[in-house]
């Protein structure tokens, strides 16, 4: 006798612990296998792009914090780079170094969160997650010391950074930089060879190279497929051309490669911070820019390599005190377009792992 089965539509999310916020997947299932997947988002839409049009240029910076809230520094940086390009402002040398140090520390802390939550999704509950958060805490302490908050930093300013670092910052940073590589190696030993972790991630959710390019993926998701693309190298912004670092890439483009690329990137970031620490000059940290600037009529696009990928801001000015239009290129959203190709054919429990390997932030996707 032939058993007749029929597809079953399951709404995963928006309130689901492994959707990292309020993401909803309309999954059509045949038993446990995924037949079709339709992402539904917009639950966290706050209209950041529209709000930016009625705020002064400096007032948009706190809004950019709230996009990718685990990586506020790089969002700040992308926006101020766009406005600086538009208004042709030159940034003091010390501020450039501080920006690089902050964005690299931010990359480490964001990758720690990504790896932590990814291991949570793949079934090793909370032990690696809390280890990662412990290391992240050391970086967050430094951010707190510099800009007064632990999550929404609002540190970069048009023409520099908001204020100089306190005296105890550099010694503390040296300690952290000395301390972290050992811990990262430890977590490498903890996870990278674990047979259960390998079974859940190796060969799961493969993103083909062509698809990755076609969907406009960037960041670790793109690099895991073996494409060596990093804006810090390919289109150096700020002063990244002065540092020596490698671009870690994966081979297969599966979940394991995405995890491993992130782990290796943290080591590269530490290398950059070490070099910046040696070179950092003294001097002013902010160019003489008025609080309410009026850039000339025109448009500019500023982009940085954020922890999830290319964060870009396209700012259009009509000569007023507020941007005429501010478009945000959200890397998580672009990467997520590959979700359908990666998850169809896999089981529901693999879907969670695949989705977790993107390390998305809903604040950025819905904007």
């Amino acid at each position: 006798m032939q058993l007749r089965t029929e597809p079953y539509v399951l709404d995963m999310g928006p309130v689901h612990p492994s959707t990292h916020g309020v993401f909803r997947m309309r999954v059509t299932l045949d038993g446990e296998a995924v037949l079709n997947l339709e992402p539904v988002f917009g639950y966290l839409h706050r209209g950041v792009e529209k709000l930016a049009e009625e705020r002064a240029y400096s007032g948009v910076i706190p809004l950019t914090d709230r996009l990718d809230y685990v990586a506020s520094m790089t969002n700040n940086l992308a926006y101020v780079l766009a406005v600086e390009k538009l208004a042709e402002i030159k940034v003091p040398e010390r501020a450039e170094y501080l920006r690089v140090i902050m964005s690299e520390l931010q990359r480490i802390s964001a990758h720690l969160v990504s790896i932590g939550s990814f291991t949570n999704d793949s079934g090793c509950y909370f032990t690696p997650f809390l280890y990662m958060y412990r290391e992240r805490e050391k970086i967050v302490d430094l951010f707190d010391m510099v800009c007064g908050q632990r999550l929404l930093y609002n540190y970069m300013r048009i023409g520099g950074v908001s204020q100089d670092i306190p005296d105890e910052f550099l010694p503390a940073l040296r300690k952290v930089v000395k301390h972290l590589p050992g811990r990262i190696n430890e977590y490498d030993r903890l996870l990278s060879e674990n047979e259960i972790f390998l079974a859940r991630t190796k060969g799961v959710g493969i993103l083909p190279k062509e698809t990755a390019i076609n969907i406009g993926a960037s960041g670790p998701v793109l690099r895991s497929t073996g494409i060596e693309w990093d804006i810090r190298k390919k289109d150096p912004y700020s002063i990244y051309d002065r540092f020596d670092f490698d671009i870690p890439t994966g081979e297969a483009g599966d979940c394991y490669d995405r995890y491993y690329v992130r782990l290796q990137e943290m080591r590269q970031s530490i290398r950059i911070v070490e070099q910046a620490l040696k070179q950092i000059p003294s001097g002013p940290v902010k160019a003489d820019v008025p609080q309410l600037i009026r850039p000339p009529v025109g448009e500019a696009y500023g982009h940085v390599e954020g922890p999830t990928g290319e964060v870009g801001f396209h700012v259009v000015s009509d000569g007023g005190i507020a941007p005429y239009r501010c478009h945000i290129r959200a890397p998580s959203l672009m990467n997520l377009t590959g979700l359908y190709d990666m998850s169809v054919g896999w089981k529901v429990q693999d879907l969670i792992v695949i989705f977790g390997s993107f390390a998305i932030t809903m604040g950025e996707i819905d904007r």
């Binding site: 910076i61 010391m145 301390h179």
Partner: protein
């Protein structure tokens, strides 16, 4: 997937877990034990110096949320008299731009946390509340104030190997 290496990876990972078991604990029991916060804490509670303030309204202009309401009238000696100064901290995003913008250093972020209130109306800070002597000023963008505050506790100093 087969267990080709007979669970050696798991054993290796367990060693790391054992090392971490012996490490000192990093968590603190919050309401009883408190860590010292950053000298530049951007607490929501604004502190206002009414002697330095001239009522220029720059803070109100720079506030991205538009929550600072300031009303002035012409006072004696060619100065403005600040009649009302209100900040609805329910809408405040603690960005600190008002403190940075103040040309007379009359506005400070507050060195405080635990900002919960029982009623929404209590969130609106008034002129006298902000000028109260009890409020501790934070060193955000005010290096001279930061020097007077205790040093922040850092996890790297508590844990560092």
């Amino acid at each position: 997937m087969k267990f080709e290496r007979y669970g050696r990876g798991i054993a290796k990972g367990m060693v790391v877990t054992m090392i971490n078991l012996l490490r000192p604990r990093v968590v603190t029991q919050y309401p009883e034990q408190k860590l010292t916060i950053s000298q530049r804490t951007r607490g929501n509670e604004l502190v206002w110096d009414k002697d330095k303030c001239t009522g220029c309204g720059t803070c109100s202009k720079t506030c991205p949320q538009g929550v600072i309401r300031i009303e002035t009238s012409v006072g004696d000696e060619n100065k403005y008299f600040v009649e009302s100064f209100e900040v609805d901290t329910g809408y405040c995003i603690s960005c600190g731009l008002c403190v940075e913008a103040c040309p007379y250093d009359a506005l400070f972020m507050g060195y405080a946390y635990e900002l919960g209130r029982y009623r929404r109306g209590d969130l609106v800070l008034t002129r006298d509340e902000m000028a109260s002597e009890e409020r501790i000023r934070s060193g955000y963008n005010r290096p001279e104030v930061a020097e007077t505050l205790p040093r922040q506790t850092l996890l790297i100093e508590r844990e560092g190997d």
